[in-house]
């Protein structure tokens, strides 16, 4: 189970990277990165998963006393939350940049924005 999730996550990352490496369109690149981000989120969650356990919320079913044996690792969950938000922030930022770049040159082709080089 975990391995499948991990593999999925890694595959998503690789797909995202492949998309980012082969698509010249800025928006497609951004989407590709979003895919990669999802991939890493999957990986993080998968690492935290423990077979046969439940979410780390103490309620009627899981009391504070048996939390130790009943809940999965909460830390990756925390991390993934932060990672998602950061991913969103960066994605939004990239969109804005893409928009401004399009405004400037009327194209979304990344190879057209190579004035700075060497």
């Amino acid at each position: 189970m975990t391995y499948i999730a991990l593999a999925t996550g890694f595959l998503l990352i690789l797909i995202g990277f492949y998309g980012a490496l082969t698509n010249r369109n800025l928006l497609r690149m951004i989407v590709a990165f979003t895919i990669a981000n999802s991939g890493i989120n999957v990986v993080i969650i998968a690492i935290g998963y423990m077979h046969g356990r439940t979410a780390p919320i103490l309620d009627a079913t899981v009391s504070a006393a048996d939390a130790l044996t009943r809940v999965i690792d909460p830390v990756p969950q925390v991390l993934v939350l932060t990672a998602i938000v950061i991913g969103v922030g960066v994605a939004a930022l990239m969109l804005v940049f893409a928009y401004k770049l399009y405004e400037r040159k009327g194209t979304l082709d990344i190879s057209k924005f190579a004035e700075l080089k060497w």
Binding site: F17, V43, L79, I86, K117
Partner: protein, 1045 residues
């Protein structure tokens, strides 16, 4: 002390607060921003104070009510305090600097700036891995945001490229974090370190990802194209933050990570660092855009620091001192340079000539590039010294070589740039700057010097070296910076008095050998400075440079340990470089001078470091105790280093240009005095280490050959010069060859001869350079064939030249003969026959160029345009006449100077000295009597002259065209003066010997470097996608290398 979290709080609070303000209230917003940054600065400064002055212990600050590893904690120690101070101060100054932009863009921009600085302090302070990631992301996003501050439209694309790369890095970082967490069960950095991540399953790969993600932020080669774009297009105020603060913070993050990874990852850090350092510096060579150049330099510097961090296994606690020195130097210098770049309108390097309108900015620029190049008295210098010392002690020679090579290349382009500033045409658009901007630069400047002092003190405290900024000669030299507003003649008087006074106060300190050098450096310098009275106005920059050179010279002979020696060596190199650069067309020559000198200096550094074997304080005399197999290598390095300064053949190509293009009163200084520094180095070297053998080759024997070839080829090349000062410069190469030869003979008389050459060469070369300089000043040209017939107009210059050439050529009765006589006596007892032949060949050749010098300038036909010129200025003539008197005196009584040295040399080479009976001087082989020679020649000459006067009493004085001309008359003086290509037949016969092989070789080296750099930097094709490719390749390659290792 204040909780370090308040640094974060202040920034964030202010940033959020800014949103509450109406968008019109930009002034208030700006004040709040400044206030927040000031608070951050103040808190960090408080901590720095606490750690430095009160020796406080590092403190952990907790969050979330639990202790680590279960919650995030901040740690404040000395490095953190210094770095947060650096980050927040840079932020504050940049905010000041960017006042206009920030106010124009409004509070959002200010908030972004605040968050950026906050993120950097967070990176520095946090001890939690994921928290580090968060701050990293904050830094990345705010960096991208701050790119919008730039007026450059291309900045957007640069920001986007950066985001692409950072997206990939985030992925790697997160993979690393989560697997590291999985392996160790903690996110705390210290926790991970104790859990030894690397040993856990998957730990190594997890760490690999962590490491790569953070290191990639340092813009390692080749995954750094995006960084350059940012540097090039960002607003300079922000580029300063990016370069100074961001790099520092990330480096510290790497340092923290290395704590987790442990020693096995250190080689990788070093490898990446060194490759980046070299590649970035190499690529910077063909760079013409100033900001991109700065970017390359920043990347290089961070690479260097990364490499140093990678050496922490052997650097131990010193890593703080070394990496800190390098880091702070880099940060201050880069911040300053970026700020300055905002004041310059043009983006090409030569446009920086605009700075000339503001000397303070030029001074700031010099300070900054000196800091970057690791020159004294800045922290980088101390760091460089200690680093090389320790590395050499551990036998990491290859690393030293690579680092020094990189430093040399960096110094090359930085000083080339400085050359543009000083020498290129001032562009139409002048420097515009507000008081805020100036003050930011000024703070950087002041802190640069202050840090120089601090590092000097630390060096004193930990390693027992002297603080260079407390050395009296250096202080004296630096005082001239403050006195630069005075008229030149006042400063000149102060300088002369200073030199003389220093000699008067210290002359009892020197042994006879050093006495000779002390006299030449101090008194000789004072005499040459007499000529400087001729210049009018304020002569900005001349005196600090001159006195810095003299400070270096005098510290050189006073140095007892290798550190002092090397520091003095670098000081005199810089001082003289500035001096040489003052010449009208000296830009390329000054550059090749500084590159060769620094190259030589680095060899010396390596040699000393190798010799010390890690000992912090190494006495020069202890060189004598070195044994095989180390000793010959040390000898080799030092000898080549010193021979660079004496312009031994092959390493000589910097000399002709540097000496001939220098100002009139500078040429004698650099030729008559500065060259002796190299000889002094050689003397010290040979005195302590004596003869050394490498693979069965006697090294002094090789030096003998080099000396002989220098003498021959230097003289030969001098023959074919049309430029008077160039001719003299080449002649110096030959003369130094003689001296080198004498030293390499390694016997009593050889050394005596070398010292005689030291004295003689000082006197006559100074005199000839002054004379030629005076003529050049009056005629406005240095081409000898354009002159001619000046004897009647400039009789005193003629007399000086005449006496000079008689002395140089060694014709009795003048003092040059003494040198030759000792020389013959020295070689007669030596076993080396073949090099002797070469040096024989060199002897008569000296005549050729000397005659040419005097003939084509003073004799022959006077040209139309020079019919009305006057004798050289009084202040040029005065020292020349002093030299004439000195030469005559020294010719009659060489014993005054030599006798004590002769006795002293008995300590080094017992026996084989001279006998001094009355006025006669004799050796085991021959004898001479200078007084008798002088009297006899004077009597014969006088008698004959009187006789001719009597016979010829009615001679009709005729004019220049009254010559027999095959029954015709001369057409014009230009066609009648036989001067150009004077020794054409000689060129036909022996011209093949003076093919510029060395020049071609070094040209080839630089061209290869340039071409290689120019081709390979096309890697950075500007396409963000390519940069992603680079990054992934970097990851894969690094992984493969890691696995391979």
């Amino acid at each position: 002390m204040v909780n370090a979290i308040y640094i974060i709080v202040a920034a964030l609070g202010a940033a959020f607060l800014l949103g509450l303000l109406k968008s019109e209230k930009r002034g208030t917003a700006y004040v709040i921003t400044l206030f927040a940054l000031s608070v951050m600065t103040w808190i960090s400064a408080g901590w720095v104070w606490a750690f430095v002055m009160e020796r406080a212990a590092p403190v952990d600050f907790l969050t979330g009510g639990t202790s680590p590893p279960f919650s995030i904690n901040f740690r404040m120690g000395l490095p953190e305090a210094v770095l947060t101070l650096l980050a927040s101060l840079t932020g504050l100054l940049s905010a000041l600097y960017m006042k206009d932009v920030l106010c124009a863009l409004g509070q959002r921009a200010m908030a972004v700036l605040l968050v950026a600085v906050m993120a950097l302090t967070g990176i520095i302070l946090t001890r939690d891995l994921f928290n580090l990631f968060v701050f990293f992301e904050l830094a990345i996003i705010s960096t991208a945001g701050l790119m919008l501050l730039s007026e450059d439209a291309r900045a957007l694309a640069a920001g986007f490229k950066y985001l692409i790369v950072s997206q990939m890095l985030s992925v790697f970082f997160l993979i690393g974090i989560i697997f590291a967490y999985h392996a160790t069960g903690t996110l705390n950095i210290d926790g991970m370190a104790t859990a030894s991540l690397g040993l856990k399953a998957g730990g190594a790969i997890a760490f690999f990802f962590l490491f790569i993600a953070v290191v990639a932020e340092l813009k390692p080669f080749p995954a750094n194209g995006w960084g350059l774009d940012i540097y090039e297009s960002a607003h300079p105020g922000f580029a300063a933050i990016f370069s100074a603060a961001t790099s520092s913070a990330v480096i510290y993050a790497v340092d923290k990570l290395l704590l987790i990874g442990g020693a096995e990852w250190l080689p990788m850090a070093t490898g990446i660092g060194v490759i980046t350092f070299l590649a970035a510096n190499l690529f910077a060579l063909p760079q013409t855009n100033d900001r991109r150049l700065l970017g390359y330099s920043s990347i290089a510097q961070t690479g260097l620091i990364l490499a140093v961090l990678g050496q922490r296994d052997i650097l131990g606690d010193n890593v703080l001192y070394i990496a800190g020195g390098l880091l702070l130097s880099h940060a201050i210098a880069k911040a300053g340079l970026n700020w300055i770049s905002g004041l310059v309108a043009g983006r090409e390097l030569p446009d920086w000539a605009a700075l000339r309108s503001r000397p303070i900015l030029v001074f700031a620029f010099v300070t900054f590039i000196a800091m970057l190049s690791g020159l004294p008295p800045f922290p980088g210098f101390y760091a460089k010294w200690e680093m090389v010392r320790i590395l050499a002690g551990e036998g990491r020679i290859a690393l030293i070589g690579l680092i020094l090579l990189g430093l040399l290349i960096e110094a090359g382009y930085l000083f080339r740039w400085f050359g543009y500033i000083i020498k290129r045409e001032v562009p139409a658009q002048s420097v515009r700057c507000s008081p805020f901007q100036i003050s930011a630069i000024f703070v950087a400047l002041a802190s640069g010097w202050a840090l120089g002092f601090v590092w000097g003190e630390l060096s004193n405290q930990y390693f027992g070296h002297d603080n260079l900024l407390l050395a009296i000669p250096v202080v004296f030299a630096l005082t001239f910076l403050l006195l630069d507003w005075l008229p030149a003649w006042v400063k000149n008087s102060i300088a002369i008095v200073g030199l003389s006074l220093f000699f008067y106060l210290t002359f009892s300190d020197y042994d006879p050998l050093r006495m000779i050098f002390a006299i030449i450096f101090l008194i000789g310098g004072a005499v040459i400075l007499l000529a400087s009275y001729d210049s009018k106005g304020r002569r900005i920059g001349f005196y600090p440079a001159t006195m810095l050179m003299f400070a270096g010279l005098i510290l050189l002979i006073r140095a007892t340990d290798t550190f002092g020696f090397f520091a003095a060596w670098e000081l005199l190199t810089i001082g003289s470089y500035f001096l040489i650069l003052r010449g009208k067309h000296s830009e390329p020559h000054a550059l090749s001078y500084i590159i060769f000198s620094l190259g030589g200096a680095f060899l010396i550094l390596a040699g000393f470091a190798l010799a010390a074997q890690g000992a912090p304080l190494f006495n020069i005399d202890a060189l004598a105790q070195l044994t095989q197999p180390l000793a010959p290598w040390v000898f080799l390095l030092l000898a080549i280093g010193f021979m660079t300064k004496t312009a031994a053949i092959g390493l000589h190509i910097w000399l002709p240009g540097a000496h001939s293009e220098a100002e009139t009163d500078v040429s004698p200084m650099v030729s008559g005095i500065l060259l002796k520094a190299g000889l002094f180095g050689l003397i010290v070297l040979l005195m302590t280490m004596g003869k050394q053998q490498l693979y069965g080759v006697e090294l002094t024997y090789v030096m003998l050959w080099i000396g002989a070839l220098s003498a021959l080829l230097g003289n030969l090349m001098a023959i074919f010069q049309e430029d008077a000062k160039r001719l003299l410069a080449y002649s110096s190469i030959g003369q130094m060859g003689y001296a080198l030869f004498g030293l390499a003979l390694m016997n009593h008389l050889g050394w005596l001869m070398a010292l005689m050459f030291v004295i003689n060469h000082y006197i006559y070369k100074s005199m000839l350079f002054l004379s030629a300089g005076g003529v050049a000043k009056r005629t406005g040209t240095r081409d000898m064939y354009r002159m001619g017939g000046l004897i009647t107009l400039m009789p005193l210059s003629f007399i000086a030249t005449l006496i000079g050439i008689i002395a140089v050529s060694g014709v009795p009765p003048l003092s040059g003969f003494g040198g030759r006589w000792i020389f013959y006596n020295a070689i007669i007892s030596s076993e080396y026959r073949l090099p002797m032949v070469i040096i024989f060949l060199a002897g008569p050749i000296a005549f050729l160029y000397l005659f040419r010098l005097i003939h084509t300038i003073f004799l022959g036909q006077l040209k139309d345009e020079y019919r009305k010129i006057k004798e050289a200025p009084f202040w040029f003539i005065l020292p020349q006449m002093i030299y004439v008197a000195l030469l005559l005196a020294f010719a009659v009584a060489p014993g005054v100077a030599l006798r004590r040295v002769d006795t002293y040399l008995n300590q080094i080479f017992p026996g084989g000295g001279l006998q001094w009976t009355g006025t006669e001087i004799s050796s085991a082989y021959g004898y001479w009597n200078p007084v008798a020679i002088m009297i006899i020649i004077a009597v014969i000459f006088g008698t004959l002259f009187a006789w001719l006067l009597f016979v010829n009493r009615k001679a009709q004085k005729v004019k220049q065209f009254n010559i027999v001309y095959a029954a015709e008359r001369p057409y014009r003086p230009e066609t009648t003066h036989f001067a150009w290509n004077f020794f054409a037949p000689y060129r036909k016969a022996l011209g093949f010997l003076v093919q510029p092989f060395a020049t071609r070789f070094w040209d080839g080296v630089t061209n290869t470097l340039h071409t290689a750099a120019d081709i390979s930097r096309r890697l950075y094709n500007g396409n963000g996608q390519s940069y992603a490719f680079h990054l992934l390749s970097f990851v894969v390659i690094a992984y493969l290398m890691r696995m391979g290792a």
